[in-house]
Symmetry: C2
Subunit: 411 residues, 2 copies
């Protein structure tokens, strides 16, 4: 029997307890011993919970208990969660987390401390919910130079875009539906603005490079200004509109990174992910492309990824210190956004002569999209001619008031 503690008994934390109870036999078999939840740290009490008697309000009850080997952090955020994670590691406990915000903001510090203390800091659940992606990137694909990591990393926004596409409803209507179903938080800003996807992309990029990528350096756009008409164009083009995060390794070991709504072919493997599902494509120089797909969030899927990390720790107690850290350097890893190549669908008010557009983007740089009944012009730009984000932005500024909006193509 191995004793663990859970810090933060919210959705994921209580899910961890539920998975441990529900699958106790399977877990005992895999870990070689049973897992006992000895303490739960939370500000609240849970008198009706089956684990309610383990609740403590004092963190020291965990850190000072030599019988507790593994601590699960499911508090979230970068405040108290950081303090308690550092304390847990300093106390010689393995730490397992689902907290992507913390890993994205303080990963290097936490991993370095874990290595120094001879314990593990594990974060499979921080990306892709229950979908295995962190460990596969570390282990299974370790013989590859990873060239691309791209995909749908946020379930809330994917649900909203799927509903706007399928039901033809507006963004605010789809958001209300997502909230009613529990797929969006009451304050969904981090999801809608792309921040959540951006943190996950930065974590995946950091694993890929073995170097810390600050998520704040990644150009990030959310989905709040997506209009039903955008979805109509997507359908017209046999495409779907998805919030996609993309990491692309450059020959000089810098990377193109972006999180933004993009049009993607309906037959592309990433586009298989609708509703709250995630899909992450990894391209390696030996492997070619592989895709990981599934429920990217939710109580039990995320909890099952946390418990898998706990099992890994339990199997290797004292033998498997944290092995990989992210180097922190001053070199600029993320290529400046303005220099990145781009193709986009540009929607214009219906009053510009095609000649003017072609003059702006070159004779082969723009292609008119004929969509019936939409009472406007739309162009695919950067098609024939390479165009950078900076060039696109400059040319759209010249069109100024005529531009309704633009959406990138995933290419």
């Amino acid at each position: 029997m191995i004793n663990i503690a859970i810090m933060g008994y919210g959705v994921v934390g209580s899910g961890v307890a539920e998975v441990c109870r529900m699958n106790a036999d399977t877990i005992r078999k895999k870990a070689g011993r049973g897992i006992n939840i000895k303490k739960i740290l939370d500000l609240r009490d849970f008198p009706d919970d089956p684990f309610g008697d383990r609740v403590t309000h004092r963190a020291g009850d965990i850190f000072e208990d030599p019988d507790i080997a593994i601590v699960v952090e499911t508090i979230g955020g970068t405040g108290i969660a950081l303090d308690l994670s550092l304390q847990a590691l300093r106390s010689g406990k393995h730490v397992v987390t689902s907290n992507k915000e913390l890993v994205a903001a303080h990963g290097p510090e936490l991993m370095a401390l874990a290595q120094q203390m001879g314990v593990s800091y594990m974060y499979e659940a921080s990306v892709g919910g229950g979908i295995p992606i962190v460990r596969p990137l570390h282990k299974c694909l370790s013989a590859n130079v990873i060239q691309t990591v791209a995909g749908i990393l946020n379930g809330t926004t994917n649900y909203i875009l799927t509903r706007m596409d399928a039901a033809g409803i507006r963004f605010d209507q789809a958001l209300a539906e997502a909230q009613a179903k529990g797929y969006a938080e009451q304050n969904p800003t981090a999801d809608l603005d792309g921040l959540d996807a951006c943190r996950k992309l930065a974590i995946l990029g950091s694993i890929t490079l073995g170097e810390y990528i600050d998520s704040r350096k990644v150009h990030t756009e959310g989905i709040t200004s997506i209009m039903p008409t955008d979805l109509l164009y997507a359908q017209h083009l046999q495409m779907k509109l998805k919030l996609i995060g993309r990491f692309r390794l450059l020959p000089d070991r810098r990377a193109d990174m972006i999180v933004a709504p993009m049009l993607i072919s309906r037959s592309h493997p990433i586009a298989v992910a609708d509703d709250v599902n995630n899909a992450i494509l990894v391209e390696g120089n030996a492997l070619g492309e592989a895709l990981f797909y599934g429920r990217g969030a939710g109580k039990l899927p995320t909890a099952s990824a946390v418990v898998a990390d706990v099992i890994e720790c339990a199997m290797h107690l004292g033998r498997l210190p944290h092995l990989t850290t992210w180097a922190v350097s001053d070199r600029p890893i993320v290529r400046p956004h303005d220099e990145c190549p781009v193709q986009a669908l540009v929607r214009l008010h219906d009053r510009l002569p095609p000649d003017q557009i072609r003059a702006l983007f070159g004779p082969h740089g723009a292609e008119l999209i004929e969509a019936q009944d939409l009472h406007e012009q739309a162009w695919l730009v950067g098609q024939g001619a390479p165009l950078s984000e900076g060039q696109l932005a400059a040319r759209l500024r010249m069109l100024d008031a005529d531009v309704i909006g633009r959406i990138r193509l995933f290419v």
Copy 2:
């Protein structure tokens, strides 16, 4: 620097050497030291190969060399590959294999010996080529009771079915095309008859249960009798026709297992895999569904999975003995085929009154499919009423000469 040996310098074996050379920097970083190919065992010589000077024809040069810690087995088959794998393990070497036939036939013996010798026997590359699936099942999904493993496990047959679907060509034409492109071997029987997929399914099922499943117990049908008309029905039904292997856990810990061509909805995640790609769906009781997709075969993808296992061994030399073995028991794990539930598309010569079909399968047990210009009748049977494989077979026997063929539905 860690020394390894490669036994069998064919497609995958030489791919292992190529990946080690091509990605030497990445591998050194991940493994914590460089990997040196010290010996290559093969009957042939390779004077023009960059590693030609490492070739030996004497296995003892590997087993008796205390500097070689890890041995890669890429010989294939169950003859000499078994002997040499056992000898390597007995000599205290870690063994990494891509040989699904060997793992499916002798996994328990090899794993037990590895455990006894305190070394690892690793086989990520035996299923799904470069797609991570063995380790994710073992590790990442370890907190789940796995209820279903299903998917497209063979690239050759998937290429043939994709071409028959897209180009409307016959089986033999598509096979010739696959052979011309190097996607099918000159003797492709094990692929076409479903044996290769069956072995992979048995390996995945064995991992899931922690018990050895003899692949010979799994009902297996190949694709050699698939007709272009079958593909036309698939298109008519908005489905694809795929060779699917499926493991389903039953409440009594037995399993329904089958490999057969099946009709699957075009929007199902598994159906995303066309051409030589594989797609494997795993359903866990906490996770829900997750899908693993990518190149299921090929020199470099498969080799990259072998090298990933080598890296794992190299990272944990002396610290990570083989931990999971497959128990061998007399209990009948695979439910008798006749008892498994089934739904199928049944094609009949156009001369049976619908009443007769409904009388046979019950009023809600069969649904007529109207397909223009196909000059025959087709029915979906087992739709409304539960039907076992045994019942379906018996009723089709009563129709006898009127039956052109039947294809299962993936449900």
